[in-house]
Amino acid sequence: MAEETPSQTVPETVKAAIADRPVEGRVCLEAGAGVGNTTAGLLAAGAARVYAVTDDPAHAAAVRDRCGDATDRLVVVEGDLRQTPLRPDSVDLVTAHGLCNLLDPAALAAVAAEFSRVAAAGCHLVVDDYEPLPESAAVRDLFAVENAATELATGRSALTFYPASLLRRVFAGHGWTFDRERTLLDPVPWTASHLSAHAGVVTDAIAGLPPELGDPLERRAERLVEAIGEEFAGTMYSVAMTRPDGDETR
């Protein structure tokens, strides 16, 4: 296969998650923009405007690089999703593709409240994330090391895998009505490139730790990446919800 330039390819997971949502002509909030997979998907599907929000400057730059040149429909916002500069009732579609696993419960609660604040009447919400991994999954050991390192360094977990049923209830508590759930990936491919990215989080986290604490964690992460190689485990789901037309919930 030919060398890949950072292409406009939209992952099948993203396509499957937004295929049955109204995107064309809508104002979208892509919450946790990452490297811009969903941003690219929303733009390709004809979104009127995409606010791509991330708290990571490198991600913001990556999204601009990937999608920014091509369109005046994109606004990359570098900021915190717990408190965005978006106006109330201004968004028709919120997407959170692979975001929630990076939010600890306190942050999740705050982000859910913020989604509800910016959502217009009739707004759609798509939350795509991972079911908790089965006990037998070897990648759990790597994620455990990752969480240990970030807990020690920052006092917060790096990863929390929320069941779809739990996220549904969280958003229902903010006035969102369940619409549908579908499986995006079954099983989830944790490739060598994913595993080394997770090991990279460990390396970053221990930079601030005393070596006697950090170094064993880093070594363990490296050994796990080596030993696991690649694993297919768990599932990724997509939950879609909507806000009632007349907003009596706030």
Binding site: E4, E12, V35, L184, P189, S193, E230, F232, M236
Partner: protein
Amino acid sequence: METRPLGATGQESTVATFGAIALNWLEQEGANQMVEHVLDHGVNHFDVAPTYGDAELKLGPKLRQHREDIFLGCKTQERGYDGAAHKLERSLDRLGVDTIDLYQIHGLEYESELDEITGDDGALAAIREAKAEGKVDHLGLTSHGNPDLILDAIDRIDDLETLMFPLNPVVAGKDDDEYDYEAVLERASEENIGTLGIKAFAKGSWPPTSELPEEDRPYANWYEPVDTPEEIRDRFDFAASQGLSTVVTPGDPKLVSMVLDAASRYDGMDEATQRALIEQSRHDDSPVPEQLHH
């Protein structure tokens, strides 16, 4: 083994087609055993080409013995009338049969070739003549070239009955036009053209020969294949679930048994699992480990 209609040919092909290039790597006795093995699995569609070394010759004896049970595809790399007419006779001769069920223009790569084969003095004229004489039953085309070119070929060859082209999770995961074989599949289905999938088992290109000389490659495939039973099964199920008529077995005889086993057990693949394979190869492909998620 499941069978599916091969477009409008009237042929019901098994979901696996035997890529007879595998015979080229075997002695005659081994080749005979391989053909019996393939037939034991119920495979009824074979594909060969004159450019596959001795494959035609080695297929010959068992092909003649089981002629009624085998739908035989062969190919020509000739683009002109004389060459195609001549090479067809040569293939009939080497195979030792009177008829080739499906004769395919092999490896279309350039627009100019399309002009040539469709011209008055082109290969298609020779194949159509052979059809009239009963030497060939159906007309097909193979290409791993630009999907747009294949779409053009569909437009320009009215009597085209089958197409052979690459389809695997690597290709399916790319939106870029140069990999859009899904558009070819879609169009072929609309036109009721039979579809044969190749490169279903490709993992990637071989390392450069400076790193791995050709004679040190562990498999006789054009590409580096997946080679565990699980991966082979995933790849087969993926290809077969895209809507192809049939999936061609890989070129190395060591892999054929595993593929036949997968084909015999084929029972569909749900979309979440198809996406899992696409995601896997998308990340395999990416040079920088930057992404935590899917």
